[in-house]
C-alpha cells in the first residue's frame, strides 16, 4: 500500500511541475507589465522591473522562482507588496473551502437520496420530474442558475440576501447554485447504479434473510454504489474546492476564485502562480485520495496490499 501511495504521489508532484512550467511561461507571455497601470514614469517603471527581476531572461526568472517555491516561498503580491501570496491564500481559502465543501456535501446527500427516490417512487410524475430536473441541472451553466436563483429568492420574494455578507444566509444561494450540477450528475448515476444493484443476487439473499428495505439499502447496496461514484466525486470535489470564478463574482464572495480573476486582470504574476500551484496541489491530492479510498473500499484490492 505504501509503495503504491508513493508512486501515486511522485506522479502527482511531477505533473505539478509541468503545470507550474506551463503557467509560468504563459503568464510571462501576457503582453504588458504588472506596473504599467500604476501612475509611474518610465524611469521608475524600469527601476521597479529591475528590482523584481523582470528584465532577466525568462528562463532565469523561472529558475529563481522554482528555487523559491521549493523552499515554500511563493513571494509577495505585486499588487499588494505588503502581503505574501501565502497569507492571501490563507485569508481567502476558508471561505472557498466552506462554500465548496457545503456544496459537495449537499450534492452528495441530495444526489444519492433523489437518485434512489427516482427509482423506487411508484408515481410516474415524480420520476419524470426528477429526471427532467437532472437534465436541467446538468444542462444550464451554474452562473445562469445563480442569476435565476437571485432573481427568484432575492429580488422577487426577498427571502434571502442577494450578495456577499458575512451572515450565514448569504451563503445559501451560492452553495445551492454550486451544488446543482454535481447533484444532478450524482442523482442520475445513483439511479442507474441502484437499479443495477437491486437486481443482484445478494439483494435477494438479504431480502430472504428478512431484512427491511432501508437496512438492505443502507448496509448492502450503498457500498456498491459508492465505489463507482467515488471517481466522479473526485473531480467534483476538485472543481468545488478550488472556487468557482463565476459564482464567487456574482455573489461577491471573498474566495479564491474571485482572487484569481482579480490577479489575472492585474497581471499579478506571483499571485497567479501561487494560486495555480495551490489549486494544482488540491486537485492532484484529491485524485490521489480518491484512488486510495477506492482501493480501500474494495476488499479485494485492500487485501492484496495488506500484510506488507
Amino acid at each position: 500500500m505504501i509503495q503504491y501511495m508513493i508512486k501515486r504521489i511522485v506522479i502527482g508532484v511531477l505533473s505539478l511541475f509541468v503545470l507550474v512550467g506551463i503557467t509560468f511561461f504563459l503568464t510571462r507571455a501576457i503582453p504588458g507589465s504588472p506596473f504599467e497601470s500604476s501612475n509611474v514614469s518610465g524611469e521608475v517603471l524600469e527601476m521597479m522591473e529591475n528590482e523584481y527581476g523582470l528584465n532577466d531572461p525568462v528562463i532565469v526568472q523561472y529558475g529563481t522562482y522554482l528555487l523559491h517555491v521549493i523552499q515554500g516561498d511563493f513571494g509577495y503580491s505585486y499588487e499588494n507588496p505588503s502581503q505574501s501570496v501565502t497569507s492571501i491564500i490563507a485569508e481567502f481559502l476558508p471561505v472557498t473551502i466552506m462554500t465548496g465543501g457545503l456544496a459537495l456535501l449537499l450534492a452528495i446527500v441530495t444526489g444519492v437520496s433523489f437518485g434512489i427516490w427516482m427509482v423506487v417512487s411508484k408515481q410516474k410524475i415524480i420520476q419524470r420530474a426528477l429526471f427532467s430536473g437532472t437534465i436541467l441541472g446538468t444542462g444550464i451553466p451554474n452562473f445562469v442558475l445563480a442569476l435565476v436563483l437571485i432573481f427568484v429568492f432575492g429580488v422577487k420574494f426577498h427571502w434571502l440576501p442577494v450578495a456577499g455578507g458575512s451572515e450565514w444566509e448569504s451563503y445559501i444561494l451560492p452553495v445551492c447554485s454550486l451544488a446543482i450540477y454535481p447533484a444532478s450528475v450524482i442523482c442520475r448515476m445513483t439511479a442507474h447504479l441502484y437499479k443495477e444493484e437491486m437486481k443482484k443476487e445478494y439483494v435477494v439473499l438479504a431480502k430472504a434473510k428478512g431484512m427491511q428495505w432501508e437496512r438492505i439499502v443502507w448496509k448492502h447496496v450503498l457500498r456498491h454504489i459508492w465505489l463507482p461514484l467515488f471517481n466522479y466525486l473526485g473531480s467534483a470535489a476538485a472543481f468545488l474546492l478550488t472556487g468557482s470564478f463565476a459564482i464567487e463574482s456574482i455573489f461577491t464572495i471573498p474566495g479564491l476564485g474571485s482572487q484569481f480573476v482579480h490577479a489575472i486582470s492585474n497581471r499579478d504574476y506571483t499571485l497567479i502562480m501561487g494560486l495555480t500551484i495551490f489549486m494544482g496541489t488540491v486537485v492532484i491530492s484529491i485524485q490521489v485520495l480518491v484512488d486510495l479510498l477506492g482501493a480501500w473500499i474494495d476488499p479485494k484490492i485492500r487485501r492484496s496490499y495488506e500484510g506488507q
Binding site: 509503495q3 503504491y4 443482484k200 443476487e201 445478494y202 435477494v204 439473499l205 438479504a206 431480502k207 430472504a208 434473510k209 428478512g210 431484512m211 427491511q212 437496512r215 448496509k219 448492502h220 457500498r223 456498491h224 473500499i297 474494495d298 476488499p299 479485494k300 487485501r303 492484496s304 496490499y305 506488507q308
Partner: protein, 580 residues
C-alpha cells in the same frame, strides 16, 4: 397439522402472453421432514420457491388460495415469515453473498434483524452457526470476505445464514448444482445432519435425481408448473406411477450404465509429458509461477471417446486449450493427425447473436461457392431442420443451441472433438438426447471425442477410457469399467465415492464422505504428490517426491503405493491389484 400447507398457488409473469409458470400448485410439508422437489429446468420450481418466500420480481403476479403455516393464514403477509420461519439457500453461493461485506457481518445482521441481542451475543451465535455448518476456525472466517474462501465453504456460510433464526423450514434451491462432486456430497450430508439434529423441515429442489435420492424421504415431481406425482422416495424411484416420473427415473438410471467397449482404431492424438506454467500475480509486486499442467501423457484412437474427469480448477480446460492449439505447451510434445475442434459448455456465449445459423456455421470454414448443401446436410446430421439455417441463436432452446455448436465444430471435418462440459447446463432429458446424438454422430463419422466433465455419471456413460485429473496432472488412467469398479488411486476412490446414484436404497447404505478441506495449494506442494495434503495413505516420501505414472498393462496410476519399493518385486506378468 402440517407445517406448510399450500393450495392452488399460481404464478405468472406479466409479459406478452401472461403464461402461468406455476399453475394450481398444491402440496404440504410436515414438521421435520426432508422433502425433495424434482423437475426439469423451466418447470417453474424456482418461481414457486421464490413465490413462497415472497421474493418474486416486480413484473410477476402471484395468487394463492391457501397459505397455511403452522395452521395460520399467511396469504397476505408472506414477508413476515421470511428469514425467521422460512429460510432459503440458493444455487450459486458466490453470487448471493455480498462481496464487499465480511462473512461475520452478513451472519450477525441476520441474527440481529430478528432478535434483540447485543453485538457480542450475535457474534457468539454466528460462530456457533458456522461450526454447525462444518466450518473450522469460525473466528478467522468471520473476518474474511467471500472471495477469500472456497465455493463449498461459501455455500456452508449461506446455510449458516439460513439457520440463523432457527427456522422451521429451509428451502434449498439447487444448493449443490454449482459445486464439485465431493463438495456436493458434503453439503448434502450437512443438510441431512441438520434436519436430523434440529428437526428443521427441508425442501430440497433439484433437477438431479441423484441428489434427491441420496437425502430425501418424500419426493414431489413437478412438470410444467404442476405436481404430477408425490410419494416416498422408494415409491418414486422403484414404483413410479406417472409416465413423466417413469421417464425421468429411467433416463437417470440409463446414464449410470458404462459405455460399450470398442476396438482400438488408429492413433489420432498423442501427447508426451506436456507441461504448462502460468505466472500468477500474488500481490502487485510479487509473482509466482504455478504449474497448471504437469507431465501429461496420453493417446487417443480413432472413433473412441476419452473421458477426462476432475474437479474445477484441476486444469481440464487448460489441457483442452492446449490440445486445440489456443495455448502452446511449455514442455513436452503433442502430435495429432487431423484438426481438433472444441465445443464449449455455454454455446450461446460463443455465438454472435446477430448472425443467422447459416452464417455461424460458415464461419468455421473457408469461403466456397456452394455451401448451402453442406449447411443443410450438417443441420440434418445434428437433428435440426434445414430451414433453421435462417434463424437466430436466441430462437433455440439450450439443447438445440448445443447441437448448433456441435454442428459448427463439425463443419471443418475435425478428427477430434473436444467437448468441454457439453451437457452440464442441461436438464436430464435434454442431456440424454444430446448424449445419444453424440453417440450417433460418432458411429457415422468415426470421430474421436475428448469428453470433459465433472459429472462422473455422464463421463462413465460416454467414454471407453478415462483419465482422472487432480491439480494439473493425471492421477489414474485406464479402462472406464475397471476404474469405476475398482479404483486404485486414493483420489479416484474419494471422487467415485462422492457419486450420487438415483437409487435411494443404495444411497442410504453409503457412508459419510469425509474430506479434509484444503484452502489453496500451499507453496511447496509442487515437490511432492499433489494429493498428499488430503491423502490418508500418505508416506514421508509422498511429501518430497513426485510419483511416477506407474503402468500395469492398460492401466496407469500415479501413486507411490504402486511403486516397486512399496509392493515389493513381483513376478513378471503378475496382475496388480488395488492397494487401498
Amino acid at each position: 397439522m402440517s407445517l406448510l400447507d399450500i393450495k392452488n398457488l399460481c404464478i405468472w409473469y406479466e409479459n406478452e402472453d401472461h403464461r402461468q409458470v406455476v399453475s394450481d400448485l398444491s402440496f404440504q410439508i410436515q414438521k421435520g421432514e426432508f422433502v425433495g422437489l424434482v423437475g426439469a429446468s423451466g418447470c417453474g420450481k424456482s418461481s414457486a420457491m421464490l413465490g413462497i418466500m415472497g421474493l418474486l420480481p416486480e413484473n410477476s403476479g402471484f395468487s394463492c388460495e391457501r397459505f397455511l403455516f403452522r395452521g395460520e393464514h399467511y396469504e397476505k403477509k408472506i414477508e413476515t415469515l421470511r428469514g425467521k420461519k422460512i429460510a432459503m439457500v440458493f444455487q450459486d453461493p458466490s453470487a448471493y453473498l455480498n462481496p464487499l461485506l465480511k462473512i461475520g457481518q452478513q451472519l450477525t445482521e441476520t441474527i440481529r434483524c430478528h432478535k434483540t441481542c447485543t453485538k457480542k451475543e450475535a457474534k457468539e451465535r454466528a460462530m456457533e452457526l458456522l461450526s454447525m455448518a462444518g466450518i473450522h476456525s469460525p473466528e478467522t472466517r468471520m473476518n474474511q470476505y467471500p472471495f477469500e474462501i472456497s465455493g463449498g465453504m461459501r455455500q456452508r456460510v449461506v446455510i449458516a445464514i439460513a439457520l440463523a433464526c432457527e427456522p422451521d423450514l429451509v428451502i434449498a434451491d439447487e444448493p449443490t448444482t454449482a459445486l464439485d462432486v465431493t463438495v456436493q456430497r458434503q453439503i448434502l450430508d450437512l443438510l441431512k445432519t441438520i434436519s436430523q439434529r434440529t428437526k428443521t423441515a427441508i425442501l430440497l429442489v433439484s433437477h438431479d435425481l441423484g441428489v434427491i435420492a441420496s437425502v430425501c424421504d418424500r419426493v414431489l415431481v413437478m412438470q410444467e408448473g404442476k405436481i404430477v406425482e408425490e410419494g416416498t422416495a422408494n415409491q418414486i424411484f422403484y414404483e413410479p406411477q406417472n409416465p413423466y416420473t417413469m421417464q425421468l427415473v429411467e433416463k437417470a438410471k440409463a446414464v449410470m450404465s458404462v459405455a460399450k467397449k470398442k476396438e482400438k482404431g488408429v492413433l489420432v492424438l498423442e501427447s508426451k509429458d506436456i507441461g504448462c506454467k502460468f505466472r500468477e500475480r500474488l500481490r502487485w509486486n510479487k509473482t509466482c509461477t504455478r504449474e497448471a499442467l504437469r507431465q501429461i501423457s496420453f493417446s487417443m484412437y480413432h472413433g473412441e471417446t476419452f473421458g477426462l474427469v476432475g474437479e474445477s480448477g484441476c486444469g481440464k480446460t487448460t489441457l483442452a486449450r492446449i490440445l486445440t492449439g489456443i495455448l502452446s505447451p511449455d514442455f513436452g510434445k503433442l502430435w495429432s493427425k487431423g484438426k481438433v475442434q472444441m465445443v464449449f459448455q455455454d454455446p450461446y456465449a460463443s455465438f454472435d447473436p446477430g448472425y443467422t445459423i447459416e452464417k455461424i456455421l460458415l464461419e468455421a470454414i473457408p469461403k466456397q461457392a456452394d455451401h448451402t448443401k453442406e449447411v443443410e446436410k450438417m443441420l440434418q446430421l445434428v437433428g435440426l431442420k434445414p430451414e433453421d439455417r435462417w434463424k437466430y441463436p436466441r430462437e433455440f432452446s439450450g439443447g438445440q443451441r448445443q447441437r448448433i455448436a456441435i454442428a459448427r465444430a463439425l463443419m471443418s471435418c475435425p478428427e477430434i472433438l473436444i467437448l468441454d462440459e457439453p451437457v452440464s447446463a442441461l436438464d436430464i432429458s435434454t442431456q440424454s438426447q444430446i448424449l445419444k446424438f453424440l453417440d450417433d454422430i460418432q458411429q457415422e463419422t468415426g470421430i474421436s471425442y475428448l469428453f470433459i466433465s465433472h459429472d462422473l455419471n455422464v463421463v462413465k456413460h460416454m467414454s471407453q477410457r478415462i483419465a482422472v485429473m487432480y491439480l494439473g496432472t493425471f492421477m489414474e488412467m485406464g479402462d472406464t469399467a475397471s476404474i469405476y469398479e475398482d479404483p486404485w488411486h486414493p483420489y479416484t476412490k474419494q471422487l467415485l465415492s462422492a457419486i450420487l446414484v438415483p437409487d435411494p436404497k443404495k444411497a442410504h447404505r453409503r457412508k459419510k464422505l469425509i474430506v479434509k478441506e484444503i484452502l489453496k495449494q500451499e507453496e511447496g506442494t509442487e515437490k511432492g504428490c499433489p494429493f498428499a495434503g488430503q491423502c490418508g495413505y500418505a508416506m514421508t516420501r509422498c511429501h518430497t517426491e513426485f510419483p511416477d505414472f506407474y503402468q500395469f498393462e492398460d492401466r496407469q496410476v500415479r501413486c507411490f503405493l504402486y511403486s516397486e519399493e512399496h509392493t515389493g518385486r513381483r513376478r513378471a506378468g503378475a496382475p496388480m491389484i488395488s492397494q487401498i
